[in-house]
Amino acid sequence: MLLEFEKPIADLELKLQEMKDLAKGRNIDLTTDIQSLEEKIQTLKKETFQHLTRWQRVQLSRHADRPYALDYIYEITNDFIEIHGDRTVKDDKAMIGGLGDIDGRSVMFVGQQKGRNTKQRQERNFGMANPEGYRKALRLMKMAEKFGKPIVTLIDTPGAFPGIEAEERGQGEAIARNLKEMFMLKVPVICIIIGEGASGGALGIAIGDKVYMLENTWYSVISPESCSSILWRSWDYKEQAAEALKLTAIDMKTNGLIDGIIEEPLGGAHKDMKKMAGTIKQTILEALKELDKIKPEKRIDQRIDKFCAMGVFEE
């Protein structure tokens, strides 16, 4: 699966492969040609990815090959034990979590999980959690607090699920409770937007001492498509909506709504998952080092103060 702006690069890469095969098969020396094509590809890549529009970043955040929460968790941890269920209704497979270790240190992971193929996508409900998902997340976070383990949340959701049963079981209440409870967690909380960060469904596991976004992700109050349909009364203005919403990592950092941006490999996270996971791991370790030095009560105060300072108004 290729995005429109990935195609010219992919075409050149294919040409490069052909050239390499030709050189090898026919035993012709094409070294200079190969070199110049490689350089050309690199330049094109840099140019393309330096000047991505906001909508193109949204597309990258949803790329079919993009790594999901469990991909990163298994890559980052040595041991990982997944934990299931909210102890009330069921196990929500759109919200995953468990205990794992990063370089020997135990961490509680929580995150939304998308599926890779049609069957998985259905099972994971496209990463849209129900109330029991948010309650499962809270149960795991409370357990982490009890055993003094830091929490890492990986956010990747097109939104909390809008369904009949979700409403019956209190989707609003489940998210609201998470917001309130997460402020009071005594352990360090690190939140990373790894794909889509849609509205309350994302925020429901994104109250942290450190909130990061991967470079090609989005985080806002509404998706560009829904924003277009409401404000422009048409689905055709998603590009404009994406521009207006200022929903990229750079925008959110500029506006002081997140703490940092995690750089992706050139071409996006899906181009080099291992490298991406390594950078994420490094970020988590550095953040923990900093947060470990702060007393729990102070960490809570700082967490509250940070979010309470967000907002622009005139008096």
């Binding site: 989707q171 806002s220 109050v221 207006a244 929903l247 967000m310 108004f313």
Partner: protein, 280 residues
């Protein structure tokens, strides 16, 4: 020829001679009951014939609740900024200005402190007329400060919600108001100061998924639309019609997310009883 046949065709009264009933003298509820507006006002804006609760704003709620309509408004001059320079079909800035002129409100919430039946109470009340009661930075900040006032003076807090949800034109900033208000409510919770959340028609989206659902007591007016996702979104997602009464106050009570439903005419007295029971 029939004796009742009309010989002159059409309406003969010229436009200038047409007599109008003064606007707003009579109110017709969605169920068809008609009531004089003066009587409606005396009845806490509830139609006595069909118990329909008319959508009202902060002005009316303050009048209904505060003793002698006396109260001190907090942060009453706070107005919205335009952090994102947001433009859709028109610029956010001019949308705000036009709405302020039209509604004579500064934003979608007003906060005040006063007394109800001689008990101190901080009330934050949303106004749906202001861009659908949407929650932007001003709404978040005013509610946060009202909770601060409650905390500092140890006064119970009543939130009256009426909102379509987050204000899209403030995008990320709007989203973080959910976090901000929830943080303040966590502090109020810790200080064991009562928080009563009254949900009125409609309360949806980010407001439901933050302060509206976080009350020690979540109560609602009858027949209000209460939910996280709007009915249209749910219908489109699942491709099915929604059951009758779905997302009504009664439905939400039945599913265990409300403590009780309150008729607006009894609101002040029931609140007083509840606060007394907590205090004594």
């Amino acid at each position: 020829m029939a004796w009742f046949k009309r010989t002159d065709k059409g309406i003969k009264t010229s436009t200038e001679e047409k007599k109008d009933t003064p606007d707003g003298l009579w109110y017709k509820t969605p169920n068809g009951s008609i009531i004089h507006t003066r009587e409606l006002k005396n009845n806490s804006y509830v139609c006595p014939d069909d118990e329909y609760h008319v959508k009202i704003g902060s002005k009316e709620y303050f009048e209904i609740l505060f003793d002698g309509n006396n109260y001190m408004e907090l942060d009453k001059d706070m107005i919205s900024g335009d952090p994102l320079k947001f433009v859709d079909t028109k610029p956010y800035k001019s949308r705000i200005e036009a709405t302020i002129t039209k509604t004579e409100l500064k934003d979608a919430v007003r906060t005040a402190v006063g007394r109800i039946n001689e008990m101190d109470l901080v009330i934050a009340c949303m106004d749906f007329n202001f861009i659908g009661g949407s929650m932007g930075s001003v709404v978040g900040e005013k509610i946060a400060r009202a909770i601060d006032y409650s905390l500092k003076n140890k006064i119970p807090f009543l939130m009256i919600s009426k909102s379509g949800g987050a204000r899209m034109m403030e995008a990320g900033f709007s989203l973080m108001q959910m976090a901000k208000t929830s943080a303040k409510l966590a502090l109020l919770d810790k200080a064991a100061i009562p928080y009563i959340s009254l949900l009125t028609d409609p309360t949806t989206g980010g407001v439901t998924a933050s302060y509206a659902m976080l009350g020690d007591f979540n109560i609602a007016e009858p027949g209000a639309l209460i939910g996280f996702a709007g009915p249209r979104v749910i219908r489109e997602t699942i491709g099915k019609d929604l059951p009758k009464g779905f997302q009504s106050s009664e439905f939400v009570l039945e599913h265990g997310f409300l403590d009780f439903i309150i008729d607006r005419r009894q609101l002040k007295n029931r609140l007083t009883t509840l606060l007394n029971l907590l205090r004594n």
